[in-house]
């Protein structure tokens, strides 16, 4: 069985290789190859899953060592896989959603002459992501970690001819690299602390390590997670990442890659449990981000950017949950999965809308689309209900659990985190309702674009709608399925462990509260965007609004401090290198030349001068000799 694990990664990797090296002759069939191999990977995953279900909770974990990767004295890195319930959850999510999005892309990218390469990159991403979740040691995980970074770079910048896209891609990669520093330092710390960085030994030996080391490791892992999962302060890249084709946004920047951070934290749960300070920081980061993202989401008129903000905030929920320790791990993952469904669905919906609107992304140019594209409307709507946590739908269960857990953390921080989570729920309800209303309700606001092409909104082809429908199902039922009888809890508990914490208030109260804020959020949104027509041009808006439109000025900060500062630094360094470092040497040479020129003058061609020098020399010679004898 375990031999299949390698195939999970191999299939999409093969696809990537074939598609990228295949050349033009594959242009016609490429997308099919890609999709098939993604699907194949999903099938293998399913097989392994059924096999796993057949076993007892404790001997479910599979392990496969392929070969020794970096064998150096005292440093052993293997290419080895570990498939336990946690990994399995991800495998299914990644391959499942991945396959759907492959299918969707067939339609979406139909008119792009570089479609073959697009599918190649998608497969590459799948391979890397699977490597990430299947790795049995942190170094291999790091490889996958950077791999998905590369794939995301390539896909964000897929339309390279657009400078904005190229820039966004670069930005994404760089910000992720900053996070990667964290991961690599964490690995080094593990190496110096435990002498290894394989999951088993490290997580097994946390007891022996000092808390200080563990805290450091934890914080470094958190840094990495922030980079990958667009958490404050490294969140700035996610908004720009929407430059990429929408399927990419759906798969990478909503469903899977951005959740890698959560996976990392949950996977390293033991370390965080042993380092409460680090854990608290995780929770705080999560809380901050969920508000940050939500606020940003409220102000964006670009539908994808709005959804991106929401993604940020939802991942904030997951990180918050992960920061709660054993209380929250399971729910973090659960929310991650459900979010995978509905957010992917929402993005695909958005993509479908853009598809029908000549790639228009400004929601102020939408309106009343529900009549033009019913399927999109319904699926999007279900996704909407799921995310705001409408009772009975996926989001309701998963998010509610997190809020409960937050309160259950206990103590003051429990109250603070809990209320933040509640507030977040309210804002979520607001901005999602806003998106919904601006897009599908009200009167149509679109007009001819620059080339004077009047958009003709229309429903998307089957290849696009079917995945949306499937995902809609997921967003409706997944949560319920998981929560009835705590299926998901029991499934993951062996890996992550679980603990109920001490809830100061009953679950029902929390649920009630959630409902209340939900209603408030929706109501406010309706009062603003539902009752009166939405202006086609954005009003100036309050200070907060304007700040939120600019990602709460975080980019401006980066620009001023990092970009400008960096430019000045490099420019001055170039100057220094040329004048100072090089100058010293050239200066010596020049001065040598000058000296030479001056000494040369002594050779003035007059024999008598020469005689003088001889005479003087002799005198010195004699004097020196006598002196030496004297002393």
């Amino acid at each position: 069985m375990e031999n299949l694990i390698a195939l999970l990664v191999a299939a999409p990797l093969l696809g990537a290789a074939v598609l990228l090296c295949g050349g033009r002759r594959l242009d016609r069939s490429g997308h099919w190859i890609g999709t098939l191999l993604a699907a194949a990977s999903f099938v293998i995953g399913a097989v392994l899953f059924t096999d796993m279900l057949g076993k007892g909770a404790d001997d479910r974990a599979l392990h496969q060592k392929l070969f020794s990767w970096i064998p150096v004295e005292g440093f052993q890195a293997d290419v080895a896989f570990q498939l336990d319930q946690l990994s399995m959850t991800f495998v299914l999510l990644i391959t499942g959603v991945g396959t759907l999005i492959h299918i969707y892309s067939i339609g979406y990218m139909e008119h792009d002459e570089r479609r073959r390469r697009f599918f190649g990159f998608l497969n590459l991403f799948l391979a890397a992501m699977l490597l990430l979740v299947l790795a049995d040691n942190y170094l291999l995980l790091y490889a996958g970690w950077e791999g998905v970074g590369l794939a995301s770079y390539l896909l964000i910048g897929f339309w390279q001819h657009k400078p904005s896209a190229a820039t966004a891609a670069k930005k994404a990669f760089l910000v992720n690299r900053v996070g990667d520093i964290g991961l690599s330092i964490a690995i080094m710390l593990m190496f110096t602390t435990f002498g290894t960085f394989a999951f088993g030994p490290v997580l097994g030996a946390t007891g022996d390590a000092s808390e200080g080391k563990l805290t450091a490791i934890g914080l470094m892992l958190l840094l990495a997670a922030c980079g990958k999962s667009a958490q404050v302060p490294l969140q700035s890249w996610l908004g720009d990442a929407m430059e990429g084709p929408t399927p990419v946004s759906a798969l990478i920047h909503a469903a899977t890659m951005v959740t890698a951070g959560v996976y990392l934290i949950v996977r390293s749960g033991v370390i965080f449990n042993a380092a409460p300070d680090a854990q608290l920081v995780v929770a705080i980061v999560g809380a901050v981000t969920l508000l940050f993202g939500a606020i940003v989401g409220c102000a964006k008129d670009d539908i994808k950017k709005a959804l991106a903000g929401s993604t940020m905030s939802q991942i904030g929920y997951m990180v918050l949950a992960a920061g709660l320790g054993p209380i929250g791990y399971v729910f973090a993952i659960m929310h991650l999965v459900t979010h995978g469904f509905f957010k992917a669905g929402l993005f695909l919906g958005a993509g479908s809308v853009m598809h029908g609107m000549n790639d228009e992304v400004d929601m102020r140019r939408y309106g009343g689309l529900r009549t033009y594209m019913p399927v999109t409307f319904v699926t999007f709507g279900l996704g909407y209900l799921a995310i705001i946590g409408f009772p009975g739908l996926s989001g309701f269960f998963s998010k509610d659990k997190i809020i409960e857990a937050a309160f259950a953390k206990g103590g003051t921080e429990g109250w603070i985190l809990g209320s933040v989570a509640l507030l977040g729920a309210a804002i979520t309800a607001f901005y999602m309702t806003r998106v919904m209303l601006m897009t599908f309700f009200g009167q149509k606001r679109w007009q001819p674009d620059a080339e004077g092409r009047e958009p003709h909104p229309h429903e998307s082809p089957k290849s696009m709608t079917i995945p949306m429908i499937v995902l809609a199902f997921g967003s409706v039922f997944a949560g319920g399925f998981f929560s009835i009888g705590d299926r998901f809890l029991h499934w993951l508990e062996p890996v992550t462990g679980h603990d109920h914490g001490d809830a100061p208030i009953s679950a029902t109260t929390v649920t009630a509260a959630t409902m209340v804020v939900l209603v408030i959020g929706v109501a406010v949104a309706w009062s603003v965007y539902g009752r009166k027509p939405v202006p086609a041009v954005a009003p100036r808006g309050s200070l907060l609004t304007r700040a939120a439109r600019r990602d709460l000025l975080q980019d401006d900060f980066n620009h001023v401090v990092l970009v400008r500062g960096g430019e000045h630094l490099t420019r001055s360094l170039v100057y220094v290198d040329h004048t100072l470092v090089d100058g010293v040497v050239n200066g010596t040479a020049a001065s040598m030349g000058g000296l030479s020129g001056r000494l040369r003058k002594l050779q003035n061609g007059y024999a008598r001068t020469y005689a003088v020098s001889m005479f003087g020399g002799t005198a010195v010679l004699i004097a020196a000799t006598l002196l030496m004898r004297a002393v």
Partner: protein
């Protein structure tokens, strides 16, 4: 009389000759100064020879004279040819090559 005085005289002559070389411009005169220095050496040699009571010094003096004669031949030949081509025997004029 104390032969050492001859040494002082010789040293004096030598110095005069040397300074002449340094000061005078006319090649011939310079050359004569050099001859003076050689003769100062001869005097020294002879004096020492007398003091040591052996004749090496005097033999040396003879050799020196021969050498000086040879030098005169060569030197004058060169200086004269220079003079003929430049119509000047000043050593300072002979400064085409410098630096």
């Amino acid at each position: 009389m104390n032969p050492v005085n001859y040494l002082y005289l010789a040293a004096l002559l030598f110095t005069i000759g040397a300074s002449g070389v340094l000061i005078r411009r006319n090649a011939i005169v310079v050359f004569m100064c050099i001859e003076l220095m050689l003769n100062a050496c001869n005097l020294t040699l002879v004096t020492f020879s007398r003091m040591h009571g052996n004749l090496d010094g005097q033999i040396l003096a003879f050799f020196t004279m021969v050498v000086a004669a040879a030098e005169v031949v060569v030197g004058l030949a060169i200086i004269v040819s220079l003079f003929r081509s430049r119509h000047s025997a000043s050593v300072d004029d002979a400064s085409l090559m410098k630096l």
